[in-house]
């Protein structure tokens, strides 16, 4: 709840390495995640979004969590474990809310790695 009232990392990373916008098909809500990468680790992550408290709190928690995390680790965040780590029980449609940020982050990393490959 606190993450919802005072979200951490709300905004856009300057000179972001990768930026992705993700929609929740269930409700049409949106999240944008931007990341900066240094030495194969996520050095900064921010989000902007419109969505329910779960999605916003999740984005806030996730962006906190992944700061300093190696890309490969972040790419492989387990969805079930992640939901459990939030410490609240969610119905199936709210799980989608919580995973919105996770999906966005993973796409963000893929996008970054594709960019690197083609360099």
């Amino acid at each position: 709840m606190d993450h919802y009232r005072n979200p951490h990392n709300y905004g856009i990373v300057q000179n972001a390495a990768s930026k992705i916008i993700e929609y929740n098909p269930v409700c049409g809500d949106t999240i944008q995640i931007t990341i900066r990468v240094e030495n194969g680790k996520i050095s900064d992550a921010k989000f902007i979004g419109r969505g329910c408290s779960i999605s916003q709190a999740s984005a806030s928690i996730l962006t906190d969590m992944v700061k300093g995390m190696p890309l490969e680790e972040a790419k492989n965040i387990d969805e079930d474990k992640y939901i459990k780590s939030l410490g609240i029980t969610l119905g199936p449609s709210r799980e989608k809310c919580a995973l919105l940020a996770v999906n966005a982050l993973k796409k963000c990393i893929k996008d970054y790695q594709k960019g690197e490959e083609s360099k």
């Binding site: 009232r5 979200p7 709300y10 905004g11 856009i12 916008i21 409700c27 049409g28 809500d29 949106t30 944008q32 902007i48 979004g49 419109r50 969505g51 329910c52 408290s53 779960i54 916003q56 709210r94 809310c97």
Partner: protein, 426 residues
């Protein structure tokens, strides 16, 4: 007046949900009384078999029950001729049936006129015809959320082949004067279709008086089971149209290279129909007729009036609601938000840096917290995205009433709403 508390006893689910639970999602689907459940059970226990062309007694019983349901429904909407009643799955299938049959005759640049408050099931089937170059036009709303009749007149042209309109909106509760619109449509030579999904369950609807060419509704919103719905159509039109689906029951004779079709309404009922669905719907019609549809409408009108009064009294911070304030043209549907969230535009997003989060409470949070307080409402676009866009909101929360709802349900809604807002600290 109805006695909702008495009525509630006829519905087994309220035993489970308890006396302090407010089911306010009736626009999505209604609960089912014992009598309807029992009618279907009895069908399985006593008469179950396939309909039509069976010579043995059991099958004649099933056929009789199925056809009696057609007559009951026919009487209920005053169709005059039960052959004008086609059983389908739901309102959605009814309108798709029209899009696939009426739609065949339409040509490039022909127009279909609908309104901005339509449910997706009265939008998407018509959009399919855009492949052929058929255009869809939308009547807009007055500031009081009623249809803008001038706009309707403006957009009705010689090219308008079909006018299709919801008699009652599932979001705004707006009740439109379909008899008047039908007259205008017919004077223009257009076919007139009524989406009656939210009207037939909640008010007296007289298909003959409206002079609708077609009228569609769903059983599950009127105490009946899911899987059964109705397309009413004027006999001559149904008779003239090509069939929709092919298969058993709908044919007269099948040869290797062609088939001839059965008479209306069988022509439109391919395959084994939802027999116990029809039996359940028949029983639902009995229940509603016994109450009287005038009474049902009066009761819901009372609830929406009470809601609008409570809204003013409670004065919940940032509460915004949608729909006509004149309850003469307003059904028992109450859509609202705690602060408005407009849809996020990707381009806006880029500029939003640093901007604090919206002060509104997201409608999905509202409904979840209402649920915690034993109030079941639905949140979302309510299958009316063009309307949400028109209203410039991502979503709304919706309370919708039916015969078993009471003023206490309305009180509970507002009491819990007040708590929700407090919890979010605004």
């Amino acid at each position: 007046m109805l006695s909702p508390l008495q009525i509630k006893k006829d519905f087994p689910i309220f035993e489970r949900l308890g006396p302090d639970y407010s089911y306010l999602d009736n626009a999505a689907t209604s609960q089912k009384p014992y009598s309807v459940i029992r009618a279907m059970e009895e069908f399985y226990e006593l008469h179950n078999s396939n309909v039509h062309r069976g010579i043995y007694r059991l099958s004649e019983e099933a056929t009789n029950l199925y056809e009696k349901s057609r007559e009951k429904v026919s009487d209920f909407i005053n169709s005059k001729d039960s052959r004008q009643i086609v059983f389908v799955r739901n309102t959605t299938e009814a309108i798709n049936l029209l899009s696939y049959t009426l739609g065949r005759e339409l040509k490039k640049d022909d127009e279909i006129l609908i309104t901005i408050l339509e449910h997706h099931s009265n939008i998407v089937p018509w959009q399919f015809l855009s492949e052929k170059g058929v255009k869809l036009r939308y009547v807009m709303l007055n500031p009081d959320m009623t249809l803008d009749m001038d706009d309707l007149q403006r957009k009705l042209t010689k090219k308008t082949r079909i006018v299709s309109i919801a008699q009652s909106s599932n979001v705004l509760g707006t009740i439109s004067d379909v008899k008047e619109i039908g007259k205008i449509a017919h004077e223009n030579g257009s076919t007139f279709v009524v989406d009656a999904a939210q009207s037939v369950p909640h008010m007296p609807v007289d298909a003959t008086d409206i002079d609708a060419d077609f009228l569609a509704f769903s059983g599950h919103k009127m105490l009946g089971p899911t899987g059964i719905g109705v397309l009413y159509g004027k006999y001559d039109l149904l008779d003239r149209m090509p069939p929709f689906m092919g298969g058993g029951e709908m044919i007269s004779a099948v040869y290797q290279d062609h088939s001839t079709y059965a008479d209306v309404p069988q022509k439109y009922e391919a395959g084994t129909p939802n027999i116990e669905g029809a039996v359940g719907l028949s029983s639902a019609v009995d229940y509603l007729r016994a109450l009287g549809m005038d009474q049902v409408r009066e009761h819901e009108k009372d609830l929406i009036e009470y809601t609008l009064k409570k809204e003013e009294e409670h004065n919940v911070p940032d509460l915004i609601s949608y729909g006509p304030r004149n309850t003469e043209v307003r059904s028992g549907v109450y859509c609202f938000n705690i602060g408005e969230m407009s849809p996020l535009n990707i381009n806006d997003l880029a500029h939003e840096e640093g901007v604090q989060m919206s002060q509104a409470i997201h409608p999905h949070d509202v409904s979840e917290m209402l649920d915690d307080g034993n109030v079941a409402v639905r949140s979302g676009h309510h299958c009316a995205m063009p309307l949400a866009e028109f209203l410039n909101v991502v979503a709304t929360s919706r309370a919708s009433y039916y015969i078993y709802n009471t003023r206490e349900d309305v009180d509970r809604l507002f009491n819990v709403l007040v708590k929700v807002v407090k919890k979010y600290g605004r």
